[in-house]
Each structure stands twice: as structure tokens, then as C-alpha cells.
């Protein structure tokens, strides 16, 4: 049995992993890409359209796949990395249900993130109350074009609850997931387009639209789509007698409580650190279980030949992940050059 030695083993075949693998193969390195699932693309496979340009998610994945095909990267799908051990020459990546490990002179971890489990916020009644869905469910409905199956032909109103599992002390996620605000606006516009006569509400505590064109989309959602933004978060969700989602919310700008019944309520679930860890590998993690960029750049990346991409380091948009992947590929390239390729 031949030992499989690679210059770089990339773990995780999402957008970040694919991009870093392509960039390194372009520079002439022998790269292996290891993905646990049958298809490349990661979380992006579950999304329909992307903010802020309503680009097709599939198109982005296909483009990366095409580049990957012509790049010469050795792609291994259905291959789940179980553990990673360090040795003098590099790293061994153990695979589930396989005897031979992958050997890499360097490894790039692009394992991505987990999505917050909305059942932990019991007050929203996810999985209990009919009509309450998550933003991930929304993307699925959008992809399948199955809104009418869930809401019929003439629904009157929809709501989007921001910050579910983000900036929340109770679930120990004391950080902003960064992408949910703009996702809520995108999804609100999409459902308004599908049901023009329905009223669409966004219930927020702060709107964080940090990127250049996000504010533009927000304005468009207000002016052209007539989406209502209500400052205040939802509580006491129940089903009304008509089977709608009834709940209370304080309009904090008016200082008055509202009672409202809607056909659907979507919870904007946040980004959490990936929970599957590699037992033998001690990762530099911060209090949120994300890889800490400070520790990583100073000690880990330079010396040990282990690199991190995208959402392993915290919430990131797809664009930011792709940019980060390109930047990390330069670091890996330099490392390989400096360590006698």
C-alpha cells in the first residue's frame, strides 16, 4: 500500500475549502480535499439565493467545482476526518472506516460552522408551534418553491425574528453572527415577491448591516417592498384558533405592547462553532470555541503548518470566506516555500 503524501490536506469541502484548494493547486502544490458528505459545497448546498445580489447559490458552487476539476486537486468525498496527529514531517489525517491516513506536510482546516438549534429558545416554539420555521427552513422552501404547501395561496402576514441564538447570554452565544440581519432582509424581500399582498415584518433589536451594499438592500426593502421593521423581539408564541402564529412583541420605539397574528414566523438562527473536534489536535480556541486569529497567526500558522479558513475563525459571509481562503492560501504557499519544498 502506497503512502499518500500531499503538500496540503484541506479538511472540509465548503466554499472556503474549495477556494483554498484551488488557489494552492494553481501554485503547483499537491493538494487533497477531504469532504465528509457526498457532495462538495457545504452549507451553501442548502441555500437558494445569496445576499446582496440574489445570485444563485448553485451557480457559485458549480463555478468552484469547475475550477476544482481543472485544477488537479485530489478530491475525496464521503471521507470524514476522524482525527489528526502531528509528526515530524507534517500531519496524519485519520479517516473514519479506513486504515490508511492521509499524510500532509501542512493541513488547512475548513470545517466550517454549526447552525444554532432554535429548539433551545423555547419561547419561540420551534418544532412545537405550527407556522414557526427557521431561516434554514426558509431557504429549503425557497429552493423547492414550496411556499404554497406551507402557507396556502393568500397568506396575510409573515414575520422574521432577528438574533435567534446570537448576542444571547442565555445560550452563551455572546457574539453577533453577522450575516443574519442581511439574510432576514433578503428573505423578507423574497417572500414579499412571492406574496405581494402579504405584510412582512422584521423584529429586530439592532440592525447590523456592515457591508457596503447591505444598507442599499435595506433601503430597497423599505421603499420598494414596503417591509416593516419593528424594534422589539417576539415572545409568547402560540397558535391562534385560526391556526395562525399569534404572539406578543413590545414596540420599543412606541413603548407599547403589540399583539399580532401572522401566517409564518421565521427565526434567524445564528452561526455557532463546529462541535465535531479532532481529539488529538489541540486547537487554539477562544471562549466561543472558534479558532482565535490572534493565537493562530502568531504561534500556530507560522510554525506548525496548520492553517484555518473562513468560519472556523468566527461568523463570516461567503464573500469574506472566499477572500480569507485566498489570503490563507498565500500563507500556506509561503510556509511550503520556507520549509524546503
Amino acid at each position: 500500500m502506497t503512502d499518500q503524501w500531499y503538500d496540503v490536506v484541506v479538511i472540509g469541502g465548503g466554499v472556503g475549502g474549495m477556494q483554498v484548494a484551488i488557489a494552492l493547486a494553481d501554485r503547483g502544490h499537491r493538494v487533497a480535499l477531504v469532504e465528509a458528505h457526498a457532495d462538495l459545497g457545504g452549507k451553501l448546498l442548502g441555500y437558494a439565493k445569496l445576499f446582496p445580489s440574489f445570485e444563485n447559490a448553485e451557480q457559485v458552487v458549480d463555478e468552484l467545482k469547475n475550477q476544482l476539476d481543472s485544477s488537479g486537486v485530489a478530491v475525496f468525498t464521503n471521507t470524514k476526518a476522524r482525527d489528526i496527529t502531528e509528526n515530524t514531517k507534517g500531519y496524519d489525517v485519520m479517516i473514519e472506516n479506513a486504515d490508511t491516513p492521509f499524510h500532509g506536510r501542512t493541513i488547512v482546516l475548513a470545517y466550517g460552522f454549526d447552525i444554532f438549534d432554535p429548539t433551545l429558545k423555547e419561547e419561540y416554539g420551534y418544532n412545537i408551534i405550527r407556522g414557526v420555521y427557521s431561516s434554514v427552513d426558509f431557504e429549503k422552501m425557497m429552493k423547492e418553491k414550496s411556499f404554497s404547501k406551507y402557507f396556502g395561496e393568500k397568506p396575510q402576514g409573515f414575520g422574521f425574528v432577528h438574533c435567534v441564538g446570537s448576542r444571547d447570554e442565555k445560550v452563551k452565544n455572546n457574539y453577533c453572527s453577522k450575516v443574519c440581519c442581511i439574510t432576514a432582509i433578503k428573505q423578507a424581500m423574497e417572500i414579499k415577491e412571492h406574496y405581494p399582498s402579504a405584510d412582512v415584518f422584521c423584529f429586530y433589536m439592532d440592525l447590523r448591516l456592515h457591508e457596503l451594499f447591505f444598507e442599499k438592500l435595506y433601503k430597497q426593502a423599505q421603499k420598494e417592498y414596503g417591509i416593516h421593521f419593528i424594534r422589539g423581539k417576539v415572545s409568547e408564541v402560540a397558535n391562534s384558533q385560526q391556526g395562525k402564529v399569534a404572539f406578543k412583541v413590545e414596540d420599543t420605539l412606541l413603548s407599547r405592547p403589540l399583539r399580532i397574528e401572522l401566517d409564518g414566523l421565521f427565526l434567524m438562527v445564528g452561526i455557532e462553532a463546529y462541535k465535531g473536534k479532532f481529539p488529538s489536535l489541540k486547537l487554539p480556541l477562544n471562549e466561543f470555541d472558534f479558532v482565535d486569529p490572534g493565537i493562530e497567526t502568531l504561534a500556530t500558522q507560522g510554525e506548525r503548518g496548520i492553517f484555518f479558513v473562513g468560519t472556523t475563525k468566527g461568523p463570516r459571509s461567503i464573500k469574506e470566506t472566499l477572500q480569507d481562503a485566498t489570503y490563507v492560501s498565500m500563507q500556506v504557499h509561503n510556509y511550503l516555500l520556507n520549509h524546503g519544498k
Partner: protein, 112 residues
């Protein structure tokens, strides 16, 4: 005088939102689409001539209209002197004076 204890026979403070939203709100939004852009920041209220003496808060009025609380919105509209300070300061360029003018017209036409 007997000590008062507990709640009197008050109206509930909570607002029940009915869908579709109030027709006057729709009318105002159609007549002045920039109204939708309000982010309720309160800059208009801070410079409002009338608000120096009596509560006249446009940023709240937008919400009152949306929920169909016309009477409360009209109270604000009646106090407006159409000076236009609010338009100069609005970060979203909402034509507030036009909205106030339309509401005053509404009050006048229907003798409210």
C-alpha cells in the same frame, strides 16, 4: 379619600395589529413613498418647533399610523406648524412636511 389599590377600569395599553394594515397608512405611503424609509431615529422630533411645547413626535406618528391608531396620529398632526425643520435634518430624506400636510388635509376634509 379612599386609598386606591390595584388597576382601575382602564383600556388595555396593548395594540392589536390587524392585517392588512390600516387604509390611511396605505394611503399616506402611496401619496408619499419616502415615508416607508423612516428608521424612527427621532432627529425630526429633536428639531421640531411644536415638540418644544407639546409632544409632537413624527418618528412615533409613523408607527401609530401603521397600526391604525389614527386619533393619536392626528393629535400630532394638528400640532405641526409645517416649518420644515424636520425635512432639513432627516437622514433618510423623508418628506415629513408633505405627510403632515396630507394628514391636516385629511382632518379638514373629514372634519375630524
Amino acid at each position: 379619600m379612599a386609598n386606591k389599590f390595584g388597576f382601575g377600569a382602564l383600556q388595555p395599553r396593548s395594540i392589536t395589529v390587524h392585517l392588512p394594515l390600516d387604509s390611511l397608512y396605505q394611503k399616506m405611503v402611496n401619496a408619499e413613498p419616502s415615508l416607508r424609509l423612516c428608521i424612527n431615529c427621532g432627529m425630526c422630533s429633536s428639531v421640531c418647533t411644536a415638540n418644544r411645547f407639546e409632544e409632537t413626535q413624527f418618528h412615533k406618528m409613523v408607527i401609530l399610523l401603521r397600526y391604525g391608531l389614527q386619533e393619536e396620529a392626528f393629535t400630532y398632526a394638528r400640532r405641526c406648524v409645517l416649518c420644515g425643520n424636520c425635512i432639513l435634518t432627516c437622514p433618510r430624506n423623508v418628506n415629513i412636511r408633505h405627510v403632515m400636510f396630507l394628514l391636516k388635509k385629511e382632518i379638514h376634509e373629514h372634519s375630524l
